[in-house]
């Protein structure tokens, strides 16, 4: 468990973190999301003490990290960087096992570990172990970046916007990889992103940040459906708009009138476009069966109310 208690970071010109209090539970993929300047990167870099707070305490499993041995702390926290940052003069194997060198693993053990990790991200060890980073594609390089962070089997792994430089297809693949790795290994992953779509896709829990403080913490669904304030709502608005609205959304917004014993004319998963077509033919209203075995009648007014409320 990682706890931030009243953590503030004051730079000469600006306040990066303003009394941040946050608890990150064990074994979850925890996403810090927010626009640039929201303090999310400052917060994540405080966990491995790349940045020291001006005031406040950060604890891991109840122990303040500034009282722990710095090297031990860092060797036990995995770190994946935004610009990947593989050491260009070291082979893939050497890159992966650099921390194990410090921990005095034998060469054979390091080799074994590197092969294990490569296999885990579907890269053929025979083919890749002795290559240099420049010989790999960007996506492959960040796979190495991820398994490098796993080398010492750390309980906590920090990922600082790791996929922001990758193309959308590769990004999706790597997001899937992170999800499956987390399911497999049950590490605590703290993941920073400014992309709400990525946050929604990955986060077991999401903390939305703005100007150095937390706006809302919760599951993807909770935040998406019940934004706590205007900022959170707006932040997810674009995402919301892009989602294809269905009849279910209409029901969720508590629209329509309850009816009984009518013939059902539309399903819950129908899109609003399909609903609109039905309403042109049946201007008096269409009937949908709800989850609780009931029925509701939807009219043109319900549709326009929803659009007025959510936008298109």
């Amino acid at each position: 468990m990682i706890e931030f208690e009243e953590v503030t970071k004051q730079y000469e010109q600006s306040l990066a973190l303003d009394g941040l209090t946050l608890t990150i539970p064990d074994n979850v993929l925890f996403v810090l999301v927010g626009p640039s300047g929201s303090g999310k990167t400052t917060a994540i870099k405080m966990i491995n003490r790349l940045i020291e707070p001006t005031s406040g305490v950060i604890k891991i499993d109840g122990q303040p990290i500034n009282q722990m041995d710095l090297q031990t702390l860092r060797l036990n926290i995995g770190y994946v960087l935004q610009n990947i940052a593989l050491f260009p003069h070291l082979t893939i194997e050497e890159n992966i096992t650099i921390q194990l060198e410090v921990l005095k693993w034998t060469k054979a053990d390091r080799q074994k570990r590197a092969r294990e990790l490569l296999a885990m991200v579907h890269l053929d060890p025979d083919q890749y172990a002795s290559r240099y980073p420049s010989e790999l594609s960007g996506g492959q390089q960040q796979r190495i970046g991820i398994i490098r962070a796993l080398a010492t089997s750390p309980k906590v792994i920090l990922m600082d916007e790791p996929f922001s430089a990758l193309d959308p297809v590769t990004r999706t693949q790597l997001q899937d990889l992170v999800l499956s790795l987390q399911k497999q290994l049950h590490n605590t992953i703290v993941f920073v992103t400014h992309d709400m779509k990525e946050a929604l896709r990955l986060g077991d829990e999401i903390a939305v940040m703005r100007q150095g403080s937390i706006q809302q913490v919760g599951t993807a669904k909770a935040i998406f459906n019940q934004p706590k304030n205007e900022f959170v709502r707006e932040f997810f608005d674009i995402e919301r708009q892009q989602a294809t609205l269905t009849v279910e959304d209409l029901l969720a917004a508590d629209l329509g009138t309850v009816v009984n014993g009518q013939p059902t004319t539309i399903t819950m998963s129908a899109t609003l476009a399909e609903l609109a077509q039905q309403l042109v033919v049946h201007p008096e209203g269409v009937v949908v069966a709800t989850d609780d075995q009931g029925q509701r009648q939807l009219t043109m007014t319900d549709l326009t109310t929803l659009i007025a409320k959510r936008g298109l």
């Binding site: 610009n83 260009p88 003069h89 410090v102």
Partner: protein, 507 residues
Amino acid sequence: MMQQIEQILTTQSGELLQALGQHLEISLLALLIAAAIGVPLAIVLTTHQKLAETMLQVTSVLQTIPSLALLGLLIPLVGIGTIPAVITLVLYALMPIFQNTYTGLIGIDPALKEAEVAFGLPRTKRLLRIELPLAMPLIISGLRIALVMIIGTATLAALIGAGGLGTFILVGIQSNNNALLLVGATLSAVLALVVSALIRWLGTLSFKKITVSLAIFVGLFGVIEGVTRFQAPQTTITIAGKLGSEPDILMNMYRDLILEDQPNYKVTVKPNFGGTTFLFNALQADKIDIYPEFTGTVLQTLVKSPTKTNQNPTKTYQLAKKSLQEQFNMTYLAPMRYQNGYDLAVSAAFAQKYNVKTISDLATLKQPITAGFDPDFYHQKDGYQGLKDTYQLNLNAKIMEPSIRYKAIADGKVDVVDGYTTDAEVARYKLVVLEDDRHFFPPYQGAPIMKADFAKAHPEVVKALNRLAGQITESQMQEMNYQVQVKHRKARDVAHDYLVKQQLISK
């Protein structure tokens, strides 16, 4: 020219190899010291950027000091020979090594630096495993730049008696021997290219291999240095001489004479060691033990409140000896027979055309006369400055290197040159020596000069050298100079042959 070069390569291969070795030794020693200072300094200063900027400025300024001036500045501080040469070269090499190492370390991608810190790598691990290897290409290129510069600049080390390939260049200029000059310069260039290629190759190795190679190299270098130093015998006598063939011949005679009596002594000769003041300072500083000097020069240049020199050679010698003893506590042994004085010479054609036989004749000529004088002669009171007043001479005088000046008169570029009565070129270029009809030029006799303490401690050396007193005539000296300068025989052999012929040594 090709023949001359071939001749040099066959007859002087030993000396060439020795000079090459010396050159390489000085250069590598300087490089190692500069690297041992520059690289750690750059590493330390990467965390002190302001200091680093200052350091860069300082090394850049050092770079702009002319190397010759730097060598000169160091003489009063550390004397002459290898030490000031190496110091100078180190100061020069410092900037490229420091700058490249610093730039290499500073220029590392900040993301990589963040990564190595975040991974909890200890400071030494970061430096050795990540940062130095990443900066290595720049460091290697800094070393290469430094070494090429060192090897080039090290040719100047010959000027302060450190030896090396510069000796050949210097003597080549001195004796108008372009072949010798070319050999010296070419070897220096080739050395620079070879060593540069070697360092480039070193740069392609992995960091580990580079470290191991360097360690082996430094170890070997240290062992060789140690062994050579350790093997030095108890009695070492160092004889030096000014630039030119005549001092070179004399020095070798001194050596052969000493070794004839004391075969176990180690006698080092340092030919072409430098100018008058330079040699005298070296003698005072115990850098050398003996060098041949002329009586006239002692009175004109070395002793305080110089007096007008007597025309009587014996009196001149006595005065010089007394002054040296009183003012510097130096012993001046008995002089040789020949008189080597300054003279003025014109081409035979010029002499005939204007009917010039004496310096007075020259002074009466109305048309402009151009003269090529060596720098010493031009500036000294016993040279052109005094001569001008005595004869009311009005010459268009240009300063030229001694060897170039004879070439100039042979090519008709100048009408008059200064020279020495024993110069081989008088005969070679068919010159006419003008009579010094007002007896301005003092008589110059050569004799060994040394510290009184040394003479007292080594009576056997004094005894050996005194056998040369009253020996060698002017024509014998001219002939020997001719053998060395024109025939390119080794001064050592010429000296040896003379001593054997005169039965001064056994064989």
